[in-house]
């Protein structure tokens, strides 16, 4: 038996409390007058000797109560030795690394052969399980004595394009050990890549009783050049050639010159030479990519001439589109130099202008066909025609986005179109009397503020008040002003969003259009509203892509993998919300909202670094699982036993509750006035 938190045992000193209450305090009594103490002697020992505890049962209960309380905090446990199996035998886990790096040479074949050798060496009583950890760990078989099944499982394994993680392997080994409550022998067949170690060594901790044995299939560090990354715009909206920057990295390499070639749809466009420093990286810029309209499969390739050619290329895709039209509705009579000018300028100033802005005064917007616009902006438009209101509501329900800026035309009590919110009027800040309002909170996870974070100099003089309903989950306040009022409110309606900006988009109600943050704010906001902002430029193997929102249930999605192979079953096509890219290549993703995306998926380049784990690190890792209990657990008969800690604290708590009840009852009986009087009289 032991204690998980033995320091709490110091609380046992609290047992002095009942002793004090029952012995010392009871003994402290009123002095009795006596004629003379001439014949008495001060003999403390004798006196104490005759001090008697009162209410012995109550005293015992109280002592027991405190002792149990201390015990519960100390968290006692008992060792329970569990015999793994009546018949004995070892439990073996064969963990095979099938990550991208194992594709190098014959590493994976060597790993499989080593695993097969270990399986063949199993005793009849031994049980085994095959696990892979090239990516998310996968239990290929159950723990079985069927060596034939184990061999078949190993033979069926193939290397993948994902990244191995020793932390993931340790987690699986811990889980297996915990669930089986036995010692396990883990045989790991891997190339000992240092890059597969987790940042924290604690993540490698093995459970007690886990014996780790490494079977390295690589003993030397390879020289390897790889295309580490490519930067290129995912979508282009103009006719300019696409700028592409590739990063070439050398792992354990000397200075070398490498040739880098840009391919588009399988056709080599340009080749450049680049000097890659020893163990360093170099970048190459291409300005020759003239992508046609639509989706283009692009690739950067190097002539590495090393022993691992699989990482010598990088896939990426470019989509050329025409700029999408966007509608700006502004108040009648608003000068052209006000919000329309600022918004248009911001859109044109953004890198790769994706939208062309059409502006209409409110009075002429009734017949606008909003469905053809990527998004709609109502810039302090005031009351809009009912027809436009209906069209916008339908537009948002169908997935469109509307940006509403409130300004001097805000009227108290007016219903804000589409957003289904009520305007409470406009507050104008007087710089003579009031403090100027600034942005005190901006949610950087919100797309509008992901890059536009410098709001320090922006001051607001006109701010509309909004009545926000409570406990509505689809309303999100993305930014707040210094007085706590919302600045930007996002409300999801149907498949689309309505963004309400509580200040006008001109330089009267605030100075936002003249600040540097204006262009990125408008650019990111409009891109998000236009549906071209969220997706990453490229994906790694094992990463996920979102296929549908929660409100797009039942709408079929489709994914075509390399070779135009459909990767989703019919059931998955109508229900899957996420998809994990299993391998390298181009994946054609057709989402529920009709948008099509060409996802270029590449292996994680950590797999290209063949640096080996230092031996001392491996020894430390092994030692985390060498349990002192496991050694004596293996008996002469080969029986594997396992010491387990069974915590007793909840038993102690149950006894504590019983003690508390008993103490209350007994204490109540003793402490009645009559009883006290009787005791006093007896004394």
């Amino acid at each position: 038996m032991g204690f998980l938190t033995p320091w709490f045992l110091a609380g046992i000193a609290a047992l002095g409390l009942p002793v004090y209450v029952h012995l010392l305090r009871q003994y402290r009594q009123t002095p009795i007058p006596f004629s003379s103490l001439m014949f008495f002697e001060r003999r403390t020992q004798s006196s104490i000797k005759h001090r008697r505890l009162k209410y012995l049962l109550l005293f015992s209960l109280r002592c027991l109560f405190l002792a149990l309380l201390v015990l519960a905090f100390a968290r006692p446990f008992i060792h329970s030795r569990t015999i793994a199996r009546a018949g004995g035998g070892r439990n073996m886990v064969f963990a095979i690394d099938n990550s991208f790096s194992m594709r190098q040479g014959d590493r994976f074949a060597a790993a499989k052969q080593a695993a097969l050798d270990q399986i063949n060496a199993m005793h009849e009583d031994d049980r085994g399980q095959v696990v892979t950890f090239g990516g998310p760990a996968r239990l290929v078989t159950d723990m079985t004595q069927d060596r034939q099944a184990l061999r078949a499982a190993v033979n069926a394994l193939a290397p993948g394009d994902d990244t191995s993680s020793y932390a993931e392997l340790s987690r699986v080994l811990r889980s297996t050990s915990e669930s089986m409550k036995t010692d396990i022998d883990a045989h790991v067949f891997t190339d000992d890549q240092k890059s597969s170690l987790p940042p924290s060594f604690a993540d490698l901790k093995l459970d007690d009783g886990t014996k780790l044995e490494m079977h390295p299939v690589a003993t030397t560090v390879l020289q390897n050049w790889a295309v580490e990354n490519v930067e290129a715009p995912r979508r282009v909206f103009d006719t300019k050639k696409v700028r592409t920057v590739a990063t070439i990295t050398g792992y354990n390499t000397p200075d070398a010159e490498r040739k880098v070639t840009l391919f588009a749809n399988g056709k080599a466009l340009e080749t450049k030479s680049v000097k890659v420093p020893a163990n360093g990286r170099a970048t190459v810029e291409f300005l020759t990519l003239d992508a046609p309209y639509g989706l283009t499969k692009c690739e950067i390739r190097i002539d590495s001439a090393d022993q691992f050619p699989l990482d010598d290329h990088w896939l990426f895709s470019v989509e050329r589109l025409d700029p999408k039209p966007a509608l700006l509705v502004h108040a009648d009579g608003e000068p052209a130099t006000a919000s329309p000018l600022y918004i248009r300028t911001a859109l044109e100033s953004a890198a790769g202008p994706a939208f062309t802005l059409e502006s209409l005064p409110t009075s002429q917007s009734g017949n606008a066909n909003v469905s053809k616009y990527a998004f709609v902006i109502l810039s302090d438009a005031g009351p809009i025609p009912q027809k436009l209101d209906d069209a916008l509501t339908k537009y948002v329900q169908g997935g469109g986005s509307v940006f509403i800026a409130l300004g001097k035309n805000a009227t108290p009590g007016r219903h804000i179109p589409v957003a289904d919110l009520n305007d409470l009027g406009l507050r104008t800040v007087s710089t003579d009397h009031d403090a100027v309002l600034t942005v005190s909170y901006a949610d950087t996870s919100y797309p509008s503020f992901a890059r536009a974070q410098n709001w320090g100099g922006v001051e607001f003089f006109q701010v509309a008040k909004l009545q926000l309903p409570q406990n509505v989950p689809d309303i999100r306040v993305a930014a707040k002003l210094s007085d706590g009022t919302p600045l930007l409110v996002d409300r999801q309606i149907g498949g689309g969003h309505v963004l309400v900006f509580l200040s006008p988009l001109d330089n009267i109600g605030n100075n936002l259009p003249t600040e540097a943050v204006w262009v990125p704010f408008i650019d990111q906001t409009t891109r998000e509203m236009g549906g071209i902002g969220a997706a990453p430029a490229n994906y790694k193997v094992g990463s996920f892509v979102e296929l549908r929102s929660a409100k797009e249930k039942g709408v079929p999605v489709e994914i075509l993998g390399p070779g135009d192979k459909r990767l989703l079953t019919l059931a998955e096509s109508s229900s899957a919300t996420m998809f994990q890219f299993p391998s390298e290549g181009f994946f054609d993703v057709r989402r529920a909202n009709g948008r099509e995306e060409l996802a270029a998926v590449n292996p994680d380049r950590r797999e290209s670094d063949f640096a080996l784990i230092p031996q001392e690190t491996l020894d430390l890792w092994k030692n985390t699982g060498v349990a002192t209990k496991s050694a004596p657990g293996t008996t002469a008969a080969g029986t594997t036993t396992r010491d387990d800690n069974a915590e007793l604290w909840w038993w102690v708590l149950a006894m504590l509750a019983v003690m508390a009840i008993a103490e209350s009852i007994l204490g109540n009986r003793h402490m009645t006035a009559q009883q006290l009087a009787a005791d006093k009289e007896m004394a």
Partner: protein, 295 residues
């Protein structure tokens, strides 16, 4: 029947001290009449012609009836005996486990002796002391002396601590004539010291009687649990276990009483132990025996 009036508990219900004394003495004397071994009486000696100033109570009215002359009746018992009562009124004397405190019991004794003494026309005096002399009534046979003595006895109440040495040095000056000196106390002092300070009284030819008054609880303390005792004289407190009180204390108390008795006897002092739970006749009996010897 009359013996019950010697019971201290009965006497405690009588508020008037002179009545107490009368009750005790009359009851005691009535008991003695049934006992020939003691023969207490005042033997007739002679008649003496009355002269102005004599006490009218001593006139023999039978003779006057027959001869119409006033004669005083004289008895043999009438001597020049002097009784001096030394009453300890220290704080320890106020202790009492029952209805009668030691000081009450001592007062009964003193009052009874004073009454008996006045009946026999002895000069009676009183000294009340604790660590000093608290009250002094000089011995006298004058009319009203008994009431003065009784009044002084009644006023005696627990004072401070007992200190024999200081008041007893002063007693010497009060003893003009030989007589009987009765010391009534609980004698919480070392026997050697008590005898040392009392013994000089004996040198002047006085008969000294020590009445040792103790409460039953002082003789045999009965504590069920450990108790905290507070000395009423010096306010010191002490924890006392029942075992100690039951064994060692009793032994020490017995030894103290024996030592006091032995040393008093060796010094020619009379020692009378009195338990406040017992009747008072033992004290009176001892007094009469001593007086008999002195006559």
């Amino acid at each position: 029947m009359l013996q019950q009036f010697l019971d201290p508990a009965v006497l405690a219900s009588i508020s008037s001290l002179d009545l107490v004394a009368k009750t005790v003495v009359d009851g005691f004397v009535a008991g003695l009449h049934r006992s020939p071994s003691f023969g207490f009486s005042q033997e007739f000696a002679e008649y003496q012609q009355y002269v102005q100033g004599d006490d009218l109570r001593h006139i023999d009215w039978n003779v006057f009836a027959r001869s119409e002359r006033l004669y005083l009746k004289r008895f043999k018992g009438e001597t020049n005996m002097q009784l001096l009562l030394l009453l300890d009124a220290s704080a320890s004397m106020t202790y009492g486990s029952g209805r009668v405190r030691k000081i009450d019991y001592a007062r009964y004794i003193a009052a009874s002796l004073a009454y008996m003494s006045s009946q026999q026309r002895d000069a009676t005096g009183l000294i009340v002391f604790d660590q000093d002399i608290a009250n002094y009534v000089p011995p006298s046979t004058r009319q009203g002396q008994l009431m003065r003595v009784l009044h002084a006895i009644e006023k005696a109440e627990g004072g401070s601590r007992t200190d024999f040495s200081k008041p007893f040095l002063h007693f010497q000056q009060f003893l003009k004539r030989r007589g009987i000196v009765v010391v009534i106390s609980d004698f919480y002092e070392q026997p050697e010291q008590i005898v040392k300070v009392v013994e000089p009284l004996r040198y002047r030819g006085n008969e000294v009687v020590l009445f040792h008054i103790l409460d039953p609880n002082e003789l045999e303390p009965k504590f069920k649990d450990p108790v905290l005792l507070l000395d009423v004289e010096d306010d010191t407190a002490m924890e006392v276990s029942p075992d100690y009180a039951r064994n060692e204390y009793r032994a020490k108390m017995d030894q103290h009483r024996r030592a006091l008795s032995d040393k008093a006897a060796a010094a020619g002092l009379e020692y009378v132990f009195m338990n406040t739970a017992k009747p008072l006749d033992q004290g009176l009996r001892n007094y009469l025996a001593i007086r008999q010897r002195r006559r």
